[in-house]
Symmetry: C2
Subunit: 340 residues, 2 copies
């Protein structure tokens, strides 16, 4: 069975995994542990546990096909002292306490939830994201960085983790043995790059014989990647990959409905990520694969089983289409030529 | 397969179920929902859910044989806003919210935990325990009643549920189809009798062709049953059974170690429940079965997998011995004569 490693965190990773789980792949999700906002942040502060939020989303994507189980993991208490706490986060925190380590806790959660594949925290060292901004200021913590760039006070110049932390040995092994590595869409500075900052990650990527596919975001994010083209995303990611290049870049060519675009622009100052046709490809001309990757527009009806509903992301990738393309890249010779 | 119904709540029920689950019985646990103390009480107040505490203990007893799973369900958060909350209670509360009913939540929990048998809340109507004391005062709520009798201000004269509530149809069916009904040991006024107060329970017991076995507590409880003999326990239970008699009374004849007895006496004013030899049997002379039912004394070492550890109950029933005796009563002709 072909081995696929998905690197990321958040809803973009959820989407990629949801699609891939339908195929007979051996899946590993390597997930960021730099999150410190919301329920996750409170659990970090109060219980001293590792941040469960991104792990939880990956577990939900790969968990047994039960609507109730997914609803349960995504359930957020709405009243009393538990208000705002996500049940899946509480599960992971309690399992960390009971088993004595975050790592074992994630393994037990995977067992209880009959997860297909493996969810691996990128590191089990407790660490925090730091950002030096273009205005010289240093911001501490993933959540604060998101707030700061959102306020457009300044953009990120440099990111690092403090204290330095090491790649999970199982993540290292998964990357070494992978046939395909997918860098999932997601908040670049706060969900993707934190994975690449972990000590040992760039070495592992360089040593791996796997093709690396980067799935570019559909929409820009205010502050973080406000005016980025597809190529800018790739340049940014490669800057943190320590020499390893991306083999294939998957980007979307289909514009979402104008109504939705207007809403994104108005409410969140987000615009579609476009391919800049005026720029020459730096190298590897076939690696840029532009396709319609858009999910059909959501009806707006609440579906409790879908953790993306009620979140910011209405414009999103089509999980089945993504999985199809990744499948082709693995099994069809010169697929990139036909896919373009 | 023989059908056994266990009626109760709390650690006594846990013990009985733990023993019975090793046998090929079809098990149903009918569990009190009048609890309103501790984590359970907070969840009741803040989230408006039904009390999960007793249900949780029954689920743990019947859950798949996984130490981690049991530890998880019994895990109590020790810090921050979650302090004091039991994870199993949070699971049941979240499942009640996600599925829309306590009943469905318990079913889903049973599925997730691969529970052997069925755990049935005695009622799914939200209700509260009330007690009229011998001094005329009326006390509201299970937890308050426990506190009040503990302070020995007065003892319970009469108990009822408010508002009146109906027996769960599945509990009714289980009782009708049962071969043996076990009334588990436990706090008589706050864990056992609340089950018997539910509308429809005494009718169901009267209609059932099953033998009813009452497993009498090992130790008295201050305030509640401070100076009770075995016979007093039986009289009290039968008073609330609406005409149905207990067929067999299982009581313990072996005294715990003196050291443990001293500790119980000093710390909790609890003494062993004895059989009063001066009293004549009111009827059915064979029904009184006195045996060594005591678990071997606990080493005092903490075993995280055992939810009874760290609780008040150090002197407890031997689950395997209880199960053996119940098995004999079902399968051995005139077993009561040999067992005595």
């Amino acid at each position: 069975m072909k081995k696929i490693v998905v690197i990321g965190g958040g809803t973009g990773t959820f989407t990629v995994l949801s699609g891939l789980r339908q195929y007979p792949f051996e899946l590993s999700a390597i997930v960021s542990t730099a999150d410190d906002g919301g329920s996750t942040g409170i659990l970090r502060d109060e219980l001293g546990v590792l941040p469960p939020g991104d792990i939880r989303q990956a577990l939900v994507a790969l968990a047994a096909d039960s609507t109730v189980l997914r609803d349960l993991l995504n359930y957020r208490f709405t009243d009393g002292t538990l208000k705002g706490h996500n049940f899946g986060n509480l599960l992971l925190s309690a399992l960390e306490k009971v088993t004595g380590s975050f790592d074992k806790g994630v393994l037990e959660a995977s067992r209880i939830l009959a997860v297909k594949g493996r969810v691996i925290p990128v590191t089990t060292d407790l660490t925090h994201l730091r950002a030096e901004m273009t205005n010289g200021k240093v911001i501490h913590g993933e959540h604060k960085i998101e707030e700061y760039v959102w306020s457009e006070a300044s953009n990120v110049k440099r990111l690092w983790l403090e204290p330095a932390c090491s790649l999970h040995p199982d993540a290292q092994q998964a990357i070494r043995q992978a046939d395909l590595i997918v860098i999932a869409p997601g908040s670049v500075f706060t969900s993707l790059i934190p994975n690449l900052l972990v000590k040992g990650m760039s070495e592992a990527l360089q040593k791996s014989r796997a093709k690396v596919v980067y799935v570019v975001n559909l929409m820009t994010e205010k502050g973080q990647t406000g005016s980025y083209f597809v190529q800018d995303f790739v340049d940014l990611i490669e800057e943190y990959m320590g020499g390893r290049r991306v083999d294939y870049v998957l980007y979307n060519t289909r514009l979402p409905d104008q109504q939705l675009l207007d809403r994104y622009k108005k409410e969140m100052e987000r615009i579609p990520v476009r391919f800049d046709k005026t720029r020459k490809a730096r190298s590897m001309p076939y690696r840029m694969i532009g396709l319609n990757l858009l999910a059909r527009q959501l009806s707006g009806q609440r579906n409790a089983a879908d953790p993306l509903m009620g979140q910011r992301t209405l414009i999103r990738h089509n999980p089945a289409r993504l999985a199809d393309v990744l499948y082709s890249l693995l099994f069809v010779k010169d697929a990139e030529k036909y896919l373009r």
